[in-house]
């Protein structure tokens, strides 16, 4: 356990955790860390914000005037929202199944759901095209029945579902494992059916972690590029998403406009990530 010199009474400031002698000069190590994070992270972000908004909202207006821009943003927000709802449900379901039940292959399942964290998003896109593209048996069959996946919004949705699957599972699982099953059993003994017990005992306790996971899903989904750019076809006004749109602007040597739009996406994502840390207060991933 931590050896904070906290002898009952008042909690002493965290400086007591400092180890004398472990500092190569007070600002040595500290300075390296500050420089590392400052230059590697802070500087580029500031560049985007400044370049995008150096002329006030002009660049943004220009960017949004581009044909397909507004639709792209709307498409991104809508598909991300739908994806969030679906994966919030299935993520919770998976977490529940993996924590509460024992069945053959449970450990394998636990590993598989982490797959989106390991696989390149581009490869995900390629896999989806391989499976749902017109050349494959599955894709062909779907097309015959009027369901377009590749080069259609449905494909975008499936890509987002794939890459964001682990998030809710990871936020819900630890909380669920800590819950005492005795509470549910007490509910049963008092006459509650399975679903009622779940709804009234388990779900309320899980709400913050489900919400946190959902926010992470949304934040991740609105920025997804690799899978979407392959699957969607990027048809302006139809299957063009905001990240791909930003990419196009950058390619057209309109970096400031790209920055203006990118900044919006970034602000949304980062706010959600910060909010998530608060919701997960019980065991903050923050240091």
């Amino acid at each position: 356990m931590s050896s904070q010199v906290i002898e009952g009474g008042a909690a002493l400031p965290p400086w007591t955790a400092r180890l004398r002698g472990l500092h190569l000069g007070r600002w040595g190590l500290r300075g390296v860390a500050i420089l590392y994070l400052g230059i590697a992270i802070l500087l580029p972000i500031v560049a985007v914000l400044l370049k995008g908004y150096a002329d006030g909202f002009d660049k943004l207006r220009l960017a949004l005037a581009t044909p397909g821009a507004i639709e792209a943003i709307r498409l991104t927000l809508v598909t991300s929202a739908i994806c969030t709802v679906i994966n919030a449900f299935f993520g919770t379901l998976l977490a529940y199944v993996m924590v509460r039940y024992r069945f053959p292959g449970r450990n394998l399942l636990s590993a598989i759901v982490d797959l989106p964290f390991a696989i390149p998003t581009l490869v995900t896109g390629v896999m989806l095209v391989a499976l749902y593209g017109p050349a494959s048996p599955v894709g062909g069959w779907l097309k015959e029945h009027g369901i377009d996946v590749v080069f259609a919004p449905l494909g975008i949705l499936i890509s987002l579902l794939f890459v964001t699957l682990p998030f809710v599972i990871r936020t819900v699982q630890p909380v669920l494992s800590e819950l005492d099953i005795a509470e549910e059993e007490a509910a049963f003994s008092l006459g509650a059916g399975g679903w009622t017990a779940f709804r009234k005992v388990v779900l309320p306790a899980l709400r913050p972690s489900i919400a946190a996971g959902a926010l992470l899903v949304f934040a991740r989904a609105i920025g997804e590029f690799g899978a979407v750019v392959i699957v969607a076809g990027n048809l302006t006004g139809k299957t063009l998403t905001a990240p791909v749109f930003i990419f196009q602007l950058a390619n057209q040597f309109r970096p400031e406009e790209a920055a203006a739009v990118a900044a919006i996406l970034f602000v949304i994502s980062f706010s959600l990530v910060l909010l998530t840390d608060r919701l997960l207060r019980r065991k903050p991933r923050k240091i």
Binding site: M1, G9, T16, R20
Partner: protein, 360 residues
């Protein structure tokens, strides 16, 4: 004879919080000195400053006559035993014990020899290849001790070494530490909140409270001649009788107690009396006995705890050997004789008597 450790006007602040102030004491060569006090008294902080794990805000620390106040931990060559052992979890017992020698690049055969010596000393001979998580609390603490002793430090510092252990193990280890110290004779400083431990093991006790030194003395002196109300109430259980000083004596209700010569007439006073200094009898022994009513009686084996109420309403607890309790039962009117009262002016925060007496 030059003290092994001299601490001079030592102080430590954390921001606005004053953890330690004006602490001065000597530690004699070859003896155990205890720093005794409740949580928050600053005793661990003082120990850590002696070790070099904290920087003093003021004052100085001399080890063997040399000013080491700003010398780094590594160079002070002190042995430190932590409350929660702090064993290196990824190393075996032998590797743990050898650590101080390994970092000093001692040749392998010397290391092995020393490790085996120490394993024998702490009676853990066959455990050399075990890992800390395979040992019990008591065993771990012995490894921690062996590890601290391996590099032959001049001074051994122990920070509540038995605090994390259960009562029985604590007793055993206390006895064992005593024997070890007799054998090795190494200068030691022991931080503890357990007064029994301090009184039993230490040659000299430094009582601390809220960052300051309350009293320094031998175990007997601390116990029998407490210098402040805090010491009187913290060390050993004590009753507190409140009264008024008249003619050098403390008057409470109809009774008077000797011992208030140092106070002025008319002052309020607190008299501290140990439960075993309260004599209970059915008849009035002499003029100074006070009547009292027995409220409750608890048999503790060979003694009993008797709770009484004095005529002026104040409560009193006596600890009486059972063979002296003829006729004393609950509700009875008896007489009490208070011996060895230590009288202080009120003020100076003393532990509330009820908490301490509960531990009798």
């Amino acid at each position: 004879m030059r003290p092994a450790i001299r601490v001079n006007e030592l102080g430590k602040r954390f921001g606005d919080f004053v953890a330690v102030e004006g602490v001065t004491f000597d530690v004699e060569e070859g003896k155990i000195t205890a720093l005794l006090g409740p949580s928050g008294s600053g005793k661990s902080t003082v120990l850590r400053m002696i070790a070099g794990l904290e920087d003093p805000s003021s004052g100085e620390i001399l080890l063997a006559g040399e000013d080491q106040t700003h010398v780094s931990v590594q160079d002070r060559k002190v042995g430190f035993v932590f409350q929660h052992y702090a064993l290196f979890r990824h190393m075996t017992v032998s590797q743990n014990i050898a650590f101080g020698l390994t970092v000093r690049k001692e040749p392998r055969n010397k290391r092995v020899k020393r490790v085996n010596e120490l394993l024998e000393l702490v009676h853990l001979g066959p455990f050399g290849d075990r890992f800390p998580d395979q040992l019990s609390g008591g065993q771990r603490q012995r490894v921690a001790l062996a590890r601290a002793l391996a590099p032959q430090p001049k001074v051994l510092l122990l920070d509540e070494p038995f605090g994390a252990l259960d009562a029985r193990v604590r007793q055993d280890l206390r006895r064992w530490l005593d024997e070890l110290h007799r054998e090795l004779g190494i200068t030691s400083v022991l931080v503890t909140h357990d007064q029994e431990e301090a009184l039993e093991l230490a040659h000299k006790v430094v009582v601390m409270h809220e960052g300051k030194v309350e009293q320094i003395g031998s175990s007997e002196a601390i116990y029998n001649e407490p210098a402040t109300p805090f010491v009187a109430s913290f060390v050993g259980a004590a009753n507190v009788i409140r009264g008024l000083v008249i003619g050098g004596r403390v008057q409470f209700g109809e009774q008077q107690l000797d011992g208030a010569e140092h106070l002025n007439d008319g002052d309020a006073a607190h008299a501290f009396v140990r439960p075993h200094d309260v004599l209970v009898s059915m008849e009035r022994a002499d003029g100074s006995s006070s009547p009292a009513v027995v409220e409750a009686l608890s048999n503790l084996g060979w003694t009993s705890k008797v709770r009484l109420t004095l005529p002026d309403g104040q409560a009193l607890t006596a600890q009486v050997p059972n063979d002296k309790l003829e006729g004393v039962t609950e509700g009875k009117r008896v007489f009490v004789d208070l011996r060895n009262a230590k009288v202080f002016a009120p003020g100076g925060r003393a532990v509330e008597p009820s908490d301490e007496l509960a531990a009798v």
